[in-house]
Amino acid sequence: MDLSGVSAPVDDFSWSPTVSADDVEPASTPASSGVDDAAAAVQAQVAAALNASTFAPPAEATPDAIAPKRVTQPELPSGTGLSYGEVSGPLFKGPPTPQEAVQGGLGDCFYVASLAAVAEVQPEAIKQGISDNGDGTYSVRVFGKTSDGTFVPQLFQVNGEVPVAPGVGQVFTQSEDGSRWASLYEKGFAAANEGYANIDGGIPPTALEAITGKPASWTNIEKMSPNEVWGVLQGAGTVPMVAGTEPVRDDDPYYASRLGVRGLVPGHGYTVLGTSTEEGQRSVLVRNPWGQGEPANAKGMALDGVNDGVFKVRIEDFSQYFSFVAKGGLADVAPARPGVGG
């Protein structure tokens, strides 16, 4: 990824994405990002043309893929008042991008950050992992494992409905541009895990493996020097990577506060988009899967000018405040077909 447009310093933060520790209450849900109906209709036509020939499981890509299961409607979290509702929009609007995967009111940052990580380095893998069946249903590929660690692709067939809340609209993963691939991927993952409640928290390697079908490694960087962490990050931007912070650290009672003043969220996963060195300063470009939430000035303005969740972290801060790096593999993808773009 080209980092030239990102130059925010990361020393002087004053905005914290967290609220008072005393202010703990059940989370509500964010508003939906709606799309204009007319535009959506056009987008749907374009998407239908594109999607008709983009689905993966070409035999060479997923030789062991099993037949799609019957249409699955993953169980919604109980006691939340959520229901399923239709949301219009195309499956894709051009090649999938990290910015199109925005976490909603479910604690599945580990999955959304992983989706964004794969979209960043291998958008064709994202396109090939989901298909529009043309009958209002979609097939989502989710890799599971056998007990010896062998990957097994499974297809989960879901309809186009997503979790909605009264008066709010779509509540879980969504795209600000109206594309639907991220929310339907999430739905397929929820189907594979017997319901949305079962993906309310998790670990990035599991998600990376479910998306790519390749082993994802963990590296615990808590005791590493910045130079060592820099070495771990080699390959960022070419293989999917997710880094995370801890909820708390027993050896540092002020850990969460320290994160907060740097625009970081405790117990949270971030997509690693790349690394760069400018004037001798090594930095890591990360993305908050919220699609917002980053270092800001006293007035709450993002230091890099755009509160899109994408920001640089100096390697010294990264090694101090992040605790792990999950590194995935590249998915097997089928060669692009002549004349098929998107």
């Binding site: 059940p26 989370a27 604690g107 963990w218």
Partner: protein, 184 residues
């Protein structure tokens, strides 16, 4: 999203308690023990290190099980627990083992690049007594539209350990690899 789990939350006042587990037992991959839950992982240690520097998940079961608590049976999904268990079995393979067929295939692939590679399996057994305590896990969710303030959420989870918790309620055993860096 701070999903309510009334059954777990209702056990908060018990403090530490003991449970036994019920569920369909599966033969664990490395130890061959019958387990209602097992996970195995493998990894590589830096010279002199006690913990893995880099690790991979081999497999984990996904079936829910039931905890028999002092107040009755409690169905448990795997994202509602945090496990602090001693390994049921540990193995290690060196590069010399690569072609012997003894190491799992996914481990053997790592032996080409790393040596040695070790594996650990953690298991929950039906009928065995475990130590448990209900714990609050607080986390953050995206701000509502028009706000810059993150939402706070809380999930009640059941800590399960094969060792008693300390007087302060802290686990005396490290979390299993699956539960080491739980994120929301």
């Amino acid at each position: 999203m701070g999903l309510p789990n009334l059954a777990l939350a209702s056990l908060r006042d018990l403090g530490p308690f003991t449970i036994t587990l019920q569920g369909e037992a599966t033969e664990a991959f490395l130890s061959q023990r019958p387990c209602v839950y097992f996970e195995w992982s493998y990894g590589v240690k830096a010279p002199g290190a006690s913990d893995w520097t880099v690790s991979w998940s081999g497999y984990r079961t996904s079936s829910p099980f039931t905890a028999l608590t002092p107040r009755g049976p409690l169905p448990i999904n795997l994202n509602e627990v945090r496990l602090f268990l001693s390994p049921a079995v540990e193995r290690e393979w060196s590069r010399a083992d690569k072609d012997k067929g003894e190491a799992p295939k996914v481990v053997a692939q790592r032996l080409a690049a790393h040596t040695p590679v070790s594996a650990a399996e953690h298991c929950l057994e039906a009928g065995r007594e475990y130590f448990a305590v209900v714990s609050a896990e607080d986390f953050n969710l995206p701000p509502a539209a028009g706000s810059r303030v993150a939402k706070k959420a809380r999930q009640w989870v059941l800590w399960i350990s094969d060792q008693p918790f300390s007087a302060e309620g802290k686990p005396q055993v490290a979390p299993t690899p699956t539960y080491q860096h739980w994120n929301h």
